[in-house]
């Protein structure tokens, strides 16, 4: 079975007061977090941590070699779910906002290296625009053995129509859907445009000289532990491509 961690930030008053961001508060942060937490625990998976508001720190996902503490938190669980504000940098790095500078106000994916000798397989971020479809390779460095990053390529919605997204993603995962399908199906209400995207890396057989063998990819095969196939980790030396799957309307 899997271990997982959850972080959710709903209020950003501290970030606003310190002139870090104009980001408004969210409404359904903990509906999302509680939903996936409840579903995964109901299937026997183990919650390792669930931090809220200013107990969510950017060092939790920053690589330990880069001054962070991921080996104790995000890279110490199989699945990590976070809800906060997000965006991306010009070079394609994802970034996310915190309401406390512990030790920085934002995390940048250029400082993530997930899955190394540690644990992380899947990171799920209900945050706007952390993936730039024109610069997806800018996310490459985070895949140090991690399988799939689930995020958004434009805005996501804070609305009563999306409050169940965490529960739906969790339910899909424990019903045996692939991680990629669980995310895109779970956060889509096919009414508002949540812009879901799932990103992974693949080997040379998957790249296949540019004629992609999609059936070999994590996107097609990876399930949550205990609910189907989980492919082997792919160390950086064997990574030959980055692949992404998204919904648009």
């Amino acid at each position: 079975m899997a271990t997982f961690g959850v972080e959710g930030i709903r209020t950003f008053a501290n970030a606003r007061a310190n002139g870090v961001s104009t980001a408004s508060d969210l409404t359904y942060t903990f509906n999302l977090c509680n939903g996936i937490d409840d579903k995964l625990r109901s299937a026997g998976h183990t919650r390792t941590f669930y931090w809220a508001e200013r107990d969510c720190w950017e060092t939790d996902i920053r690589d330990s070699d880069k001054g962070g503490d991921d080996r104790d938190w995000v890279d110490n669980v199989d699945l990590f779910f976070i809800t906060t504000h997000g965006n991306h940098e010009a070079d394609g790095q994802a970034r996310m906002l915190y309401d406390i500078p512990q030790t920085q106000w934002r995390t940048f994916s250029g400082q993530w290296q997930l899955g190394e000798d540690w644990n992380a397989e899947w990171v799920l971020a209900y945050s706007c625009d952390t993936v730039d479809l024109n610069h997806v390779p800018g996310l490459w460095n985070m895949f140090a053995g991690m399988h799939i990053y689930c995020g958004a390529w434009d805005n996501m919605y804070d609305a009563w129509t999306t409050e169940e997204c965490g529960r739906d993603v969790g339910q899909n995962l424990i019903d045996g859907d692939t991680v990629s399908h669980s995310w895109i199906d779970g956060v889509s209400d096919w009414a508002v445009d949540n812009h879901p995207v799932t990103v992974c890396v693949g080997d040379a057989a998957t790249w296949n000289g540019g004629n992609i063998n999609w059936s070999l990819s994590y996107l097609n095969n990876d399930h949550l532990w205990g609910h189907g196939t989980v492919m082997n980790d792919l160390p950086p030396g064997q990574q030959a491509c980055i692949l992404w799957r998204w919904a648009e309307g």
Partner: protein, 303 residues
């Protein structure tokens, strides 16, 4: 943007608003009735997905029923709303549609699958399910040298809207059909709350300007401190009038008129919001605008 400008722009986006609107009763489903809807969906598409409708295992859980189908497929029915969802279990990167296609071509792929659903059979008198939006699920890849593969269309999704007495039922899509290559059904959702035919009340509609003001006041709560305003970072996207459906796990006894404002915030971190406010002076359909608290009391020591 000044608050009054945001109000004015939203109010100017709404379509025609009738002077009065009927508040309508909704059917409440027993788990048995929900399972009948699940069976109906399976009967409609079973041949097409290669499943004999009688070949399924039934599991009844707290808030839903599930029919397990061969090859990882399932039909799920939600007891609170009667929403039903069929998934064939097709792996997401198999049976791909192929290179990018024209919208009309994808619509033509969705249409035969949608016709199988017998959409009029899910709605009542003076109601219909109308096409709303085409969605696509695509995939792409790149190598370390920056060479990009051509994007591929994995699935096409047709989304449909329940319209009751001329008004849309706002919320999640009322029906959605997701197809793979050759119009092969991948997933189907039907989320139509069935009306009873009873008219509970016929109130006057709220004026758009007043409704827009209430929506903006609601959104202002997202930046509560003095000296700052949500309107400062807001861009209006749409303002709609119609009935409203809660989420599929939420019970609902009636359809009442509501206004729904869609607003996007700008800045270093942006977000999209929907704000729903009653379409009448009386609030018939309470909608939680508070959100849950965290399901944890765990606190971490200072760093």
């Amino acid at each position: 943007m000044e608050q009054q400008q945001l109000v004015n722009e939203l109010a100017g986006m709404v379509g025609p608003v009738p002077e009065t609107v009927e508040v309508l009763g909704l059917q409440q489903h027993t788990p048995d009735a929900v399972e009948q809807r699940m069976q109906r969906l399976l009967d409609l598409v079973g041949d097409r997905i290669g499943v004999r409708p009688e070949r399924r295992d039934r599991v009844r859980e707290d808030d839903r029923s599930v029919f397990r189908l061969p090859l990882g497929g399932r039909v799920t029915g939600y007891h609170a709303s009667g929403a039903v969802h069929l998934s064939t279990g097709l792996p997401p990167m198999e049976r791909l549609i192929g290179p990018e296609r024209a919208r009309d071509e994808l619509l033509a792929m969705v249409q035969p699958a949608a016709e199988l659903l017998d959409m009029p059979g899910w709605t009542g008198r003076d109601e219909e399910l109308v096409f709303e939006r085409l969605w696509q699920i695509k995939a792409c890849a790149a190598d370390p040298g920056g060479t990009r593969a051509a994007p591929v269309v994995c699935r096409a999704v047709g989304a449909y809207r329940h319209v009751v007495r001329g008004l849309p039922v706002l919320g999640s899509a009322s029906a959605a059909v997701q197809v793979a290559a050759d119009s092969q059904i991948d997933t189907v959702r039907v989320f139509v709350r069935s009306t009873t035919g009873n008219v509970l009340d016929t109130p006057r509609s709220l004026e758009p300007q007043e409704a827009a003001l209430r929506a903006v006041r609601q959104l202002n709560g997202l930046i509560p401190e003095a000296g700052r305003s949500f309107s400062d970072i807001a861009t209006p996207v749409s303002f709609r009038f119609g009935y409203l459906s809660l989420s599929k796990r939420a019970p609902q006894s009636l359809l009442a008129p509501m206004y729904v404002a869609e607003v996007r915030t700008d800045g270093e971190e942006s977000m999209s919001y929907l704000a729903a406010v009653p379409g009448t002076e009386t609030e018939y359909l309470p909608l939680s605008r508070v959100g849950s608290g965290p399901a944890t009391s765990q606190r971490r020591p200072p760093h």
